[in-house]
C-alpha cells in the first residue's frame, strides 16, 4: 500500500513502524539518553523509539521538544523517520535540525505497529502489514 502525505523533512528511510494514537511530548516524555518513552500512562511507556518509524498523531507539550529530537539523533537513539497526522512546529523544527525524515497529513490509522515501512520523500510505502 502506498500513502501520500506532505513532506516536512525530505529523506529516505526504511524500518519497523511503532504506532500510537496518542500525541507525544519529546521533552519530558522521551528519555534523550535512551530513546525510551517515559510519560506515565502513555501507550508507548517503556518502549524504545530508536531506529523505528515513529507514527503518532501530533506533538504536544514543551517547546524544548525540538532539542530533544536533536539530542536523540546525536546520541544515536532517534527514530529513523516520523509520520504524523498533523505535524506541529516543535516536531517539524526538531526534524529539520536533526535531519530526520518526516511526513505528515497521512491516514496513519492505515499503519500498524510492526509493519515494515519505507519513506521516500512524501510517499510512504507499507511493505509488510503486520496483521497479515
Amino acid at each position: 500500500m502506498i500513502l501520500h502525505g506532505r513532506s516536512i523533512f525530505q529523506g529516505n528511510a526504511e524500518g519497523e513502524a511503532l504506532v500510537t494514537s496518542q500525541p507525544i511530548s519529546f521533552f519530558g516524555g522521551v528519555d534523550p539518553e535512551t530513546g525510551v518513552v517515559v510519560e506515565r500512562g502513555h501507550p508507548l511507556e517503556g518502549q524504545c523509539i530508536a531506529g523505528k518509524v515513529l507514527v503518532f498523531p501530533t506533538g504536544k507539550g514543551s517547546t524544548v521538544g525540538s532539542y530533544t529530537l536533536y539530542r536523540l539523533k546525536m546520541n544515536g537513539y532517534a527514530p529513523i523517520a516520523i509520520l504524523n497526522a498533523e505535524c506541529e512546529t516543535i516536531i517539524a523544527v526538531g526534524c529539520i535540525i536533526a535531519e530526520i525524515p518526516c511526513v505528515d497529513q497521512l491516514p496513519f490509522h492505515e499503519i500498524q505497529s510492526g509493519s515494515l515501512v519505507q519513506i521516500d520523500g512524501s510517499s510512504v510505502i507499507i511493505k509488510d502489514p503486520a496483521n497479515h
Partner: protein
C-alpha cells in the same frame, strides 16, 4: 515563498552562517505551512536554555550559531536555565553542570540575547501588545501571549524562536492569520474556581479534550480571574493539550468579538476534582520536596509566601522559583529575608521542570498542574497538587 531582497541575502549566506541557518529553518517552516512571505517580529522568547534539556548536542548547536556570527535583531529574552546563576551551590547543583550551563548562557550572550532566564517574560519587560506579531517559545508563555495579551505567535520550538531572533522574521502562517484564531469548541465551566491549582486542573481537563483535535477552546462560566490564575491555566492547557490559544468570555481581549462555537462541552466540579486527584499519587508524609513557581512566581505570590512563613520554620526542601528581576523586588520589600529566615530557598533563573533534580527527591508538592506532569514524567517523582497556601503550610510540617 516570496522573499524580499534582504531575506534572500540572509538565505544565501551573505549575512553570515548563523543567519543563513536561521533563514533556512524559517523558509522550511514557511514552505511546510504554506506561508506566502515572511513578516517582521518585534519580540522573541527562546526556550532551550537549561543544559539539562539541551545536553552536549544542544550546547554544540548554540555554540555554532554564536560562532557563526548570529546576532539578535529584535528584543529577545530567555527561558529558565538549569540553575540559579548566582547561588547554584546552595541548591546542590554540581560544578560540572554549572560550567556547562554557563557556556550555554555565554553562547546566547554572544548573540546579544538578553539572559533574563524566565518563563514569564511578560512579568519582566518583554510584554507584547494586542495584535503584535512575535515569535515565542515556552509553551506556557506562548499560550499567555496569544490568549491573554492578544499578541500573535505560533508555538515556536527553541531553534525556530532563535531563528526569528537572528533574522527578525517569522513565516506568516498559523496564529499570525486572523482566520486561524477562531475557536471551535465551547467549554462551559460549571464550577467556581479560585485557586491556581484549580485553574491547573481546568487546563488539564480542557487540554485533554483538545489534545488531538487542536481545536481552539472558547471558555465560558469563569467569573473572575487573577494574573496568577491565568498563568497557571496557560501552563496546564499547553502541557496537557499542546494549546497555543484560548478565548475566555469577558476576560481575554479577542473573546468579546467572537460568537461562541455551537459545539459545547460542559465541565463539572466533579470532573475538575477528578483531574486534580489524578495528579495526587503522593501522600503528605511522602513529600520531601516542595516547589512553588511554575510558571515563575509574581511578586504578589512571593508576598503571600512571606506572609505565610513569617515566624515559622520550613521542614522540607522548599524551592521558590522566579525571575531574578522579581526576586530583586522581593529583596527590596524584605520578603526574601523573611522567606530565607524560615529556611526556604530562592531559586531565581531556574525552575523545578528544568533543573537537574532527578534522583534527589521522591515526592513533590506544588500548586502547578504543569509541574506535576514534568516531575512525574521527567524525574519520576510522585506528586501532590494543592492550593498555594496549603503547599506553603505543608512545607512547615
Amino acid at each position: 515563498m516570496l522573499l524580499t531582497a534582504e531575506e534572500k541575502e540572509m538565505l544565501e549566506g551573505a549575512q553570515g552562517r548563523a543567519t543563513q541557518k536561521a533563514m533556512q529553518i524559517l523558509v522550511a517552516l514557511g514552505e511546510i505551512y504554506g506561508a506566502e512571505h515572511m513578516i517582521p517580529v518585534t519580540s522573541v522568547q527562546i526556550a532551550g536554555v537549561s543544559y539539562d534539556n539541551l545536553g552536549e548536542a544542544g550546547l554544540q548547536f548554540l555554540s555554532e550559531m554564536a560562532e557563526g556570527g548570529g546576532k539578535a535583531r529584535v528584543h529577545t529574552t530567555l527561558n529558565p536555565a538549569g540553575m540559579d546563576i548566582e547561588s547554584w551551590r546552595i541548591l546542590g547543583i554540581q560544578p560540572d553542570f554549572a560550567e556547562k550551563q554557563e557556556r550555554v548562557l555565554d553562547a546566547y550572550s554572544r548573540m546579544d540575547v538578553i539572559t533574563t532566564c524566565t518563563c514569564t517574560p511578560y512579568l519582566t519587560g518583554n510584554l507584547p501588545l494586542l495584535g503584535e506579531h512575535i515569535a515565542w517559545s515556552e509553551s506556557s508563555a506562548v499560550c499567555y501571549a496569544n490568549s491573554v495579551l492578544g499578541a500573535c505567535t505560533n508555538r515556536e520550538g527553541g531553534p525556530s524562536a532563535l531563528a526569528s531572533s537572528l533574522t527578525g522574521r517569522t513565516p506568516e502562517y498559523g496564529f499570525h492569520l486572523v482566520e486561524n484564531r477562531h475557536p471551535r469548541v465551547t467549554f462551559l465551566v460549571d464550577a467556581r474556581l479560585a485557586e491556581t491549582s484549580e485553574f491547573g486542573g481546568l487546563g488539564k481537563v480542557i487540554g485533554e479534550h483538545i489534545q488531538s483535535s487542536k481545536a481552539i477552546p472558547y471558555i465560558r462560566g469563569i467569573q473572575a480571574v487573577t494574573l496568577e490564575n491565568l498563568k497557571s491555566f496557560c501552563a496546564s492547557l499547553a502541557t496537557y493539550g499542546g494549546a497555543a490559544l484560548f478565548h475566555m468570555e469577558g476576560i481575554t481581549p479577542e473573546a468579546d468579538s467572537i460568537k461562541p462555537p455551537a459545539e459545547q462541552v460542559k465541565i463539572s466540579k466533579i470532573e475538575l476534582e477528578a483531574a486534580i486527584q489524578s495528579l495526587n499519587d503522593a501522600t503528605v508524609a511522602e513529600v520531601d520536596f516542595v516547589s512553588l513557581g511554575c510558571p515563575h512566581l509574581s511578586i504578589h505570590e512571593i508576598e503571600q509566601i512571606a506572609q505565610l512563613l513569617e515566624g515559622r520554620q520550613v521542614k522540607k526542601e522548599f524551592w521558590i522559583t522566579t525571575a531574578r528581576a522579581t526576586m530583586q523586588i522581593a529583596d527590596r520589600c524584605g520578603y526574601t529575608s523573611i522567606i530565607e529566615a524560615a529556611g526556604a530557598k530562592f531559586a531565581a533563573d531556574t525552575c523545578c521542570v528544568v533543573a537537574p533534580i532527578q534522583g534527589r527527591f521522591t515526592a513533590m508538592a506544588t500548586d502547578s498542574a504543569k509541574a506535576c506532569y514534568y516531575a512525574s514524567a521527567k524525574n519520576q517523582f510522585k506528586t501532590l497538587l494543592l492550593p498555594f497556601d496549603e503547599v506553603v503550610r505543608l512545607a512547615c510540617l
